[in-house]
Symmetry: C2
Subunit: 201 residues, 2 copies
């Protein structure tokens, strides 16, 4: 008898949430105020005035206009030397000075997902220098990547990236986005919107 | 306004299931009869007489003793030449002659998940020849891999692999398992059970 398997399987009192599961709720009034929605490619999200980042244990707010879900996971492309460089420079979320944030949901097209691991890695770093570009924005920009593609529910996006930075570092963030969007990797992005946010005081 | 984002977000009438989401239910009587449970490492699942593979649209049976969930996804390690070789030889699930099946849930330890992509790939194929070993079992053994690690719920296992084969090919399956379990990759497996099944006539 496996009590452990039962405890997690949704049979005994329902499943508990993974500690890596996060939801972003578009609301009228949240912890973050929406300054601007920019549609990079594809259609806009329904306009909302606020956004709340829900931790795994939080109940889903019934008043949300939309809800985007994702899980943090192991890196798919980063190699050891790159991980060492990233970890030595990256900052955590929640810094008091980081009063600005952005949520960028993206979807990649079917051609990307039909590529094999070696082909995706080649485009990601050898061609597009995704990690190298990201390193240039550290430590100013703190970042957390959430995966949505392999959730049990049909999710509109493949990835949700959350960024936090101090107001004076917004030019660093603008440069990061400009450089990433000019890469070969980004030719596979077929839906991308950007919500710029300020922390509610 | 994004009707598409709303439609998928769980706000308007609840989310629909991904077409890649599958559940395995341990039941008293199912489409497959359990011949044997073998515990390779870790603890046993609760003993059940039957197993049913639920497609994404199926409701969850209320009478299940346990439920294991996973999603199929893009390959994490396979390179293009390997994919071509696999696709040229692999068979589909549901062959009439494939009256035997096996469900093998496994979990890998924290050390595995702390490795970077290049380190995991090196262990997976250069050291362990996972793909080469798997190719030797084709086309006799049909296989589908489900990922559980990045589900929103806390799942007991990281992977659920489903195998189907004709009764006379059971020795091929035994050899496949023996060879995989002797690899360096398998030193990272800290929970593995094996359910051998026969199709209910």
């Amino acid at each position: 008898m496996s009590t452990r398997a039962n405890a997690h399987s949704g049979i005994d009192g329902g499943p508990s949430h993974s500690a890596r599961y996060f939801r972003f709720a578009g609301v009228d009034h949240g912890e973050w105020k929406v300054l601007d929605q920019r549609v990079i490619v594809g259609e806009a999200l329904a306009d909302v005035a606020g956004l709340t980042l829900l931790p795994p244990t939080a109940p889903t707010p019934t008043s949300a206009h939309w809800l985007l879900s994702g899980v943090t996971s192991n890196e798919r492309y980063v190699e050891r030397d790159e991980k060492v460089a990233l970890m030595s420079r990256q900052e955590s979320l929640g810094r008091p000075a980081a009063a600005r944030a952005a949520l960028i949901p993206i979807r990649k097209n079917a051609a990307w997902w039909a590529l094999t691991q070696d082909e995706r890695r080649r485009i990601f770093e050898a061609d597009s220098r995704h990690i190298a570009i990201g390193l240039q924005a550290l430590p100013a920009i703190a970042r957390r990547l959430h995966h949505c593609r392999d959730l049990p529910t049909s999710e509109p996006f493949d990835f949700l990236t959350w960024f936090e930075y101090a107001p004076q570092d917004e030019p660093v963030f603008d440069t990061l986005l400009r450089d990433l969007r000019a890469t070969r990797e980004w030719t596979y992005v077929d839906w991308e919107v950007e919500l710029r946010l300020v922390r509610e005081s």
